[in-house]
Amino acid sequence: MLRDITIGQHFPGNSLVHRFDPRLKLVLTIAYIVLLFAASNPLGLALSILFLAGMYMVAKIPFKMILKSLKPILPIVIFTAVLNLFFVAGEGEPLVRVWFLTIYAEGVRYAVLMAVRVMALIAGTSLLTYTTSPIVLTDAIEQLLKPLGKLHFPVHELAMMMSIALRFIPTLIEETDKIMNAQKARGAQLDTGKMTDRVKALVPVLIPLFISAFRRADELAMAMECRCYRGGEGRTRLKVLRCEKQDYIDLAVCIVCFGVILASRLVFPNF
């Protein structure tokens, strides 16, 4: 069950999307999120999803992976959709009126749009993590935030913390799986039984997990010290990120696509 969490998971490959400069990819992903909210009409949203689907195709990532990344946030999507459904008040006659609950056509429209938007958002950001290894991604973040270093913002430390955190997600998931199995073997009710029993059963999982997380952190800190890690000052990199011609072409294509999507909203505001 825990294996379903795909956030931060890398799906190795050598496609155009994989090779795209991570800094530009990161910026474009953020732009894409903005776009999802800016082009909020159904047509704009449809085009955005089409664009994303195209990107997934280029990256050769199976569509199953999208479903997998959406699965954990499904409850949130449903929750917000239901809330929107009931609380967005529209003009005119409500569609349904049951006791104190009223549903307007506007609410339905808004709920669907919002749900689709959130799912596209997750799928879009998942594409970034699928096609970019965590190390490269934090490199990109570090470089993009570099100007903040002038304001004594600890950019390198932040990037290091992020890369360590990302690096340990799979490890901790694996560890949780193991501990859960061990406790299940002793009769802990994690997959069976009543809800209250299941919640109580989390204690035997969380305590060993925390202990092992601290132990790992300790060992890692020790290993870093042993290799004389001193932080970012004067540190050179193994791989220096450089934008090539191909990257600029990709960037241009994306900007044009984004422009078209945005324009669609202005040209056909009613769709």
Binding site: P62, A185, R186, G187, A188, V203, I211
Partner: protein, 306 residues
């Protein structure tokens, strides 16, 4: 005696239907008699660990069936928890599963989940602690204050306290010093003898398996390569070596001796038996009998003196 474990055509696939689907077990069938001590060996990735997680229903077979004590494990999935108490499973590095404030409470976790009353739990905890040689004074201490070996004992006791009919241990001696290894394994053997519990022991050490088990299951490439008594399996030492597994040192020596043309048995796998065979050979030589294998060339040298 009756078969307590019966596995029929068990196959297991991780992530079925995904591009990264991996077959971990491929058509595995075997039976274990009640009261047996079975050693499971195999190279890393041969499917040992996956196999043992099927024994108490932590993994559900992709195909095939498992019968524990004559009952189909997955006939009623909602009752799978009953089998967790029937088959006690000790994972690799079990000390990382400890979580309670005191060792006593941690050992009592399993029995408590079984719904036993306080007196019975207390009896079982003390009994289990006794089996693993844990000082009763340590029971009121926090498990996190103990040494690695002691923690391991607490964890093993936690499973023994459930009094399972089958005890499965995945490398219980991994990472312990030689003394700790011997201790913990002899304690398991002692437990096996006293309670008659069926034991499955996963280990990389041929010496350990030779010493404690009476049957050996050899896994290779997701299948069972051999499953027989210890003597018969170690008599096939060349095949074991071919599978990338080692054989006990003493077996190697005897095989080498045979290769050199000395008439000694090939199925020697423990030191006491080896000593007996050597003395036997010596007395035969002293009596003027030839120790040379008939069909092989004589290459005796000082070999018979060994």
């Amino acid at each position: 005696m009756a078969d307590i474990i019966k596995v029929e055509h068990l196959s297991y696939v991780y992530n079925p239907g995904m591009p990264n689907a991996v077959t971990a077990l491929d058509d595995v069938s075997f039976t274990v008699e009640e009261g047996d001590f079975v050693g499971i060996i195999g190279a890393t990735g041969s499917g040992k660990s996956t196999l043992i997680t099927h024994m108490n229903g932590l993994n559900r077979p992709t195909s095939g069936k498992i019968f524990i004590d004559g009952r189909d494990l997955w006939a009623e999935p909602e009752k799978i928890r009953d089998f967790r108490f029937l088959t006690g499973l000790v994972f690799q590095y079990p000390e990382y599963q400890l979580f309670e404030e005191t060792c006593y409470k941690d050992i009592a976790f399993g029995p408590k989940n079984m719904g036993l009353d306080e007196a019975e739990i207390q009896r079982r905890v003390h009994e289990a602690a006794d089996f693993v040689g844990l000082d009763p004074a340590l029971l009121e201490r926090s498990p996190f204050e103990l040494s690695g070996g002691q923690k391991r004992r607490v964890a093993v006791a936690g499973v023994m306290a459930m009094k399972p009919r089958i005890l499965v241990l995945d490398e219980p001696a991994a990472g312990l010093d030689p003394e700790g290894r011997d201790e913990i394994l002899s304690e398991v053997k002692e437990y096996h003898k006293k309670t008659g519990t069926t034991v499955l022991l996963v280990s990389h050490s041929m010496e350990d398996i030779a010493k404690y088990a009476n049957r050996v299951l050899v896994m290779n490439n997701k299948k069972i390569a051999m499953y027989d008594t210890v003597e018969k399996v170690f008599a096939r030492a060349p095949e074991l070596l071919e599978l990338g597994l080692s054989v006990p040192q003493v077996t190697k020596i005897f095989l080498k001796l045979r290769e050199m043309g000395v008439d000694v048995p090939a199925d020697v796998y423990t030191i006491p038996y080896a000593v007996k065979m050597i003395l036997n050979a010596k007395s035969r030589r002293d009596a003027g009998e030839s120790l040379v294998l008939p069909r092989k060339e004589v290459q005796k040298g000082g070999a018979a003196e060994c």
